[in-house]
């Protein structure tokens, strides 16, 4: 597919999938070649939040909504200091933006952050493919005009085939190297926030509730955390296969019964593993702002923001399911039958997406 150019790079780009199929589109952003796991997100807004969500490390993100970049990039909506996706795939990256808080276009931002993008591709068919065949490795590259396209695709396919998302540890790349303290005026309680690649909004939700927060790296030990004198612990979201998070799971297990614990997304999976449950990889995950979840305890239904490729199963008898997904029935949260421990698979902080479940942060505060 080709678009009339509006002052943008006219170079062709390729998206090569592990199944051998490829898409030709227009390049934007950085010119480097990227390899990652191809996933899709169905949110209609929030590209800036999604691209800076560290949970996307190691992944190539396809936006199902065709028009991206409409309101540009601003200074306050990023969820971390940088873009974490390996590459961006979209139908159309807007060459023009207009918003009072924005400073640059999506393309300019990607370029500055060395992240490549491909647009002008039929993203709907990519989404269908991922839905049917599951997530798979892929590559995005600027088309090398000097060689025939088949040859270029074959070369990229080699790179694609050597990539295995589940065998890689992404958390060490996105987790802070050392602990950091955040204090709030008038705080009465203090919590530990184990950052496995957390979104900034999550930390802000805690600070907003007048909690002093000490952010710990993913490999902090229970001892270190307890030494800080915290009243509770939150395990954050993050990228990759939870089964590889042995150390963090160990930390979580050691904290059970000692402090109230709240797990979000990867944090939920870590907690489930610490309690004796299992995790497994979903065919194509849940990524979007429209996932309905039912609170098993109250029967209430609400819409959640989600970004996860793994899910929890086989919960031990010590816990009960707290939430379940209205569409596929997968587990979306758990609560310990005795201890002040609970978790959710979705993102109560929204960003991007709704904050209908924001009250969970309040519930956590009540446990402290």
């Amino acid at each position: 597919m080709v678009f009339p150019e509006r002052g943008l790079s006219a170079r062709e780009a390729l998206l090569v999938l592990q199944d051998g199929s490829f898409f030709s589109g227009r390049h934007f952003g950085s010119e480097k070649t990227a390899v990652g796991e191809l996933v899709f997100n169905t949110s209609m807004t929030g590209y800036q939040e999604a691209l800076t969500d560290p949970s996307y490390a190691g992944q190539v993100l396809t936006f199902a909504y065709p028009l991206q970049g409409n309101y540009g990039i601003n200074e306050k909506d990023s969820e971390s200091r940088k873009i974490h996706v390996e590459a961006v795939v979209c139908r159309e990256s807007s060459p023009f933006y207009s918003h009072y808080s924005s400073k640059e276009t999506l393309s300019e931002w990607l370029h500055a952050q060395h992240v490549p993008g491909i647009d002008g591709v039929d993203t709907r068919s990519i989404v269908s493919k991922v839905r049917e065949r599951g997530v798979m490795p892929c590559a995005v590259a600027v088309r090398d005009e000097r060689i025939p396209v088949e040859e270029h695709v074959a070369g990229l396919l080699e790179k694609v085939n050597s990539f295995a998302y589940s065998n890689l540890d992404f958390v060490p790349l996105v987790s802070p190297k050392k602990a950091e303290r955040f204090s709030v005026k008038g705080a009465k309680k203090k919590v530990a926030f184990v950052d496995c690649g957390a979104k900034a909004s999550m930390l802000n939700e805690l600070l907003k509730r007048k909690l002093d927060v000490t952010v710990f790296p993913y490999d902090a030990s229970a001892k270190e955390i307890l030494k800080e004198g915290v009243d509770g612990v939150v395990f954050s979201n993050g990228p990759g296969d939870p089964a590889r998070m042995k150390g963090t799971v160990e930390t979580a297990r050691a904290l059970l019964g000692k402090k109230p614990v709240f797990g979000i997304c990867l944090g939920h999976q870590v907690l489930a593993l610490a309690l004796g449950g299992k995790t497994y990889k979903l065919k194509f995950g849940h990524r979007g702002s429209n996932h309905a979840v039912r609170n098993v305890e109250t029967g209430k239904v609400f819409i959640t923001s989600q970004n996860h490729g793994y899910a929890v199963k086989d919960l031990p008898s010590s816990v009960k399911p707290l939430f379940e997904n209205c569409n596929d029935g997968t587990n979306e949260g758990l609560r310990h039958r005795e201890l002040p421990v609970f978790s959710c698979q979705f993102h109560p902080e929204g960003s991007c997406g709704p904050k209908d479940s924001n009250y969970l942060f309040d519930e956590f505060v009540k446990l402290l």
Binding site: M1, V2, F3, P4, R6, F40, T42, S43, M44, T45, G46, Q48, E49, A64, Y65, P66, L67, N70, Y71, N74, D77, R91, E92, S94, F96, Y97, S98, H99, Y100, S101, V121, D122, T123, R124, S125, V127, S128, R131, G288, S289, N290, H291, A292, R294, G299, K300, V301, F302, I303, C326, N327, G350, S351, C352, G353, P354, K355, D356
Partner: protein
Amino acid sequence: MTLPRHLPKKVLVIGSGPIVIGQAAEFDYSGTQCCKALKEEGIEVLLVNSNPATIQTDFEFADRIYVEPLREETVALILEKEKPDALIPTMAGQTGLNLAVALKPILEKLKVQVLGTSIETIYLAEDREKFRDLMKKIGEPVPESMQVKSATEAKEALKKLGLPLIIRPDFALGGTGSGIVREEKDFLPMVERALQASGTHSALLEKSLEGLAELEYEVVRDAEDNCITICNMENLDPMGVHTGESIVVAPSQTLTDKEYHFLRAASIKIVRALGVVGACNIQFALDQRKGGYWVVEVNPRTSRSSALASKATGYPIARVATKIALGYRLHEIENQITGKSAAFEPALDYVVLKIPKWPFEKLRASRGIGTMMRSTGEVMAIARSFEECLQKALRSLELRVFTKFNFDNPEELQRWLQPNELRLLAMKELLAQGRRTVEQLARETRIHPWFLERLEHVAKTEKALTSLKADTEGFQQLKQAKHLGFSDYDISAASGISTSTLRFLRKQQNLAPVFKMVDTCSAEFPALTPYYYSSFDGEDESQLLPPQKKRKVAILGSGPIRIGQGIEFDYCTVHAVLALKEKGFETLVINNNPETVSTDFDIADKLYFEPLATEDVLHVLEKEGGVEGVLVQFGGQTAVNLALPLHENHIPILGTSIDAIDASQNRKRFKRLMQQLRIPIVESGTAFSREEALGISRSISYPLLVRPSYVLGGRAMEIVYDESQLLNIVDEALFVSGNYAIVMDRFLEDAVELDVDALSDGLQTKIAGIMEQIEEAGVHSGDSSCVIPTRRVSEEALAKIRTYTKAICRSLKIVGLVNIQLAVKGDDVYVLEVNPRASRTIPYLSKATGVPLAKIAACVQVGEKLSAYFDDFDHELVPPKGFFAVKVPVFPFYRFPQVDPVLSPEMKSTGEVMAIAPSFEEAFLKAQLAAGHSFGKTVLVGNCGKWGKSISNAFREAGMKVISGLSVSEAVKQVRDGTVSLVVDGIRSRTSLATPPEIRKMAVQKKVPCFTSAYAALTLAKCLKKVRRLPSPISLNELHDGKPVLSKASS
């Protein structure tokens, strides 16, 4: 799935009545969905609606149907008679809510439960003062405002609030009487108007939010407080233009995630505070310069916006709202499209655009738009890019712009930048000419620059197409243009390359659109529903059945609701689909109207949401392949006009042949045919130029009826009594007629006009009804009241009518429906015109006779014989013995204060009501009441020419006080002062041509019924004299003694 404990057994659903501006087909759509949802539960559905052209009043959708006036008294009688357990008033716009509020005491007395959102919540949402208090309580921002009940209070409020401010009457539909006051001199008159329009004589004066962005959210909440938003929509036109008048895009395009979600969260908070159980629409104003928002208003019911949101997302809001009203919780309801739960928020992977359709051209009114709704309908387009969507929507509007932009005149340029019907086109032209930049336009119009930039992209691409070459390099450019939604026609117009060459080039290179699915979920789940739109993106998702599995036909819809082409054609389209589905056909519908039942996802086997333009229709048919033929009879003139171009592209047209269509519409051929058949016609001629028109006028005597050929509803149709009048109107008629000639007929004064609808299979003809118009000849048949059976036509004339109708059907080999208009003077019968299609009287006739005419027509068009349905071909269909069925039109004059509300050959009505009663007089009066009229005790007889005396006498005999002989200014004063309850004025005849319109206009503004036809006025007087009490409501079931079914239609 958990079942609710107490499902009601019998539910009354209120319909919204005739199509008026602000309340159109969207309520038939939501009401029909509601009926289906109730019937699924085994609930007996009662339906009351005065509008016969609604699908909800069909037996497939409701069990017992009352085509009765939507008045408190009538509905109360129905409630007493039927004793339903529950009532659903939220599927019928303001009409439904007002009725529910008025009926509260009787509902309580009869213990009829109001399902869904409670009457208390409706009050809370509608009473602006209470609503504001609630918003303040829950911390949602509302603009400063004050409620006033008099001019004195208004003056006080003005001091506090200052200008500009906005006036909104309480309890008024579609923005009637509302407006923005920018200058003090306009203040009091506008306050007066608003108080008049209000159901409670009160209005809200509010600080103006003009210029801010306007956003809407559609919210659904169940009785257990689960609450989701279905869709948000962004108005391109900023605050100051009614949302029904705005170009609207879904989802929002310029909002950040934070903005999208704080407005979403506010919506949910508001809906919870109000206690809505079902659907709700919320409007916000957003300051996109500094941030910050205000709550503008809520509609605690299904609405035009909810219909649009349903079509835009695939999420059936009315259906879900009905299930919620029955007590289901969101997650217990199935999303029929994905088979998953209805508790989710649709994710779109396309852009949706709605553009309103305005009646300015037909009403000769200025094109300005504002806070009062004036559009009659809307089109919707779906595409993968904004540019493509915009161009599809523009194409769907079927605009023929008479105006040329003269930007050299700075004043005119400024005028085009104000909100108006053609602003989008004017801005495109300004950008193309480089007279304005995106930034300048954004400043001047306050339209968000993102949209203007896209518009500029279209403008520049179009400009570049002027140098398009039909070669390899040119092909890339062509491809780009197609991706941006340019039609071959547009590209041809810009480049000079013929459409056939472009088509050839594209075919050669395989450049054709694919079809994508509307699935509510951005392809995240496999979808089950065949609802498609075209795109030039790679993958085609519209799967074909194995060949020869089923016979396949395409049915063309009628596009946006407009004057002259209303909901009646959607009704016929739906009937054709249902009949052929029943017969085992695979049915495809192509249409672009988001409000209607025909575009509901479960009507046709496949729905293609596309412009009704030749190329777009061809793309669908080429994609589908193996289509046995296209049915063009049911979608009004829009569909008929596509017959020839489709035929030229080798697409079979089912039913009446192309040649017969041409023979009936081409005046020369028509004339020759009538001569051959020895059928009298009025003298006539056709002209392609001013000179030819003058020539013809000299060969036929005045008065003349002048009209274009091939257009609907008498657009640019006029009666002229002399040469100077002819010269005044001939240019516009020629323009509107386009490539076709204008037609000039001798006009028969004081004749009776008749409408005949007939069914024919090419051999046999069944006359479906002979309808007699109440108004004199010269009033457009769509604007006339009519009655069946006839009352004033002699047996001899009737015999001629039957003979002529059959002769015409036989000689044209009509297959399907035909509509013939005739004039009768004494025993002489003249055929005026033959329309080879379903007419707007088909639903009315079907309801009156109990025979599903459009269904039979569709079956006949695929090869069935009429003898399968009828034994008797000698007699026309009539209502059951002892009953008269009357149809009365309704008009939009109140919203067009500058338009003279006089009836003429140009159609001006937006909709109609029907009434059935044992006598003509009762039926006529009942229909007048259903149309919203009441007549009081005092009639003012104004300028009525030779009719003045007899009209005055007739009303005196009916016991009314008659005021006559006043000067225009005295009469206007009487009407303004409210001493008059009925006005008869402006009756035309050779001696009294155009009379001053002031009395009539004042009557319209004071909501006093105004008759401008002598026959209708005399008829009314006779009816008022004769009828003392209206007969009790009667259901169609009682009338027809059971259900009309396709197989046992009888005479």
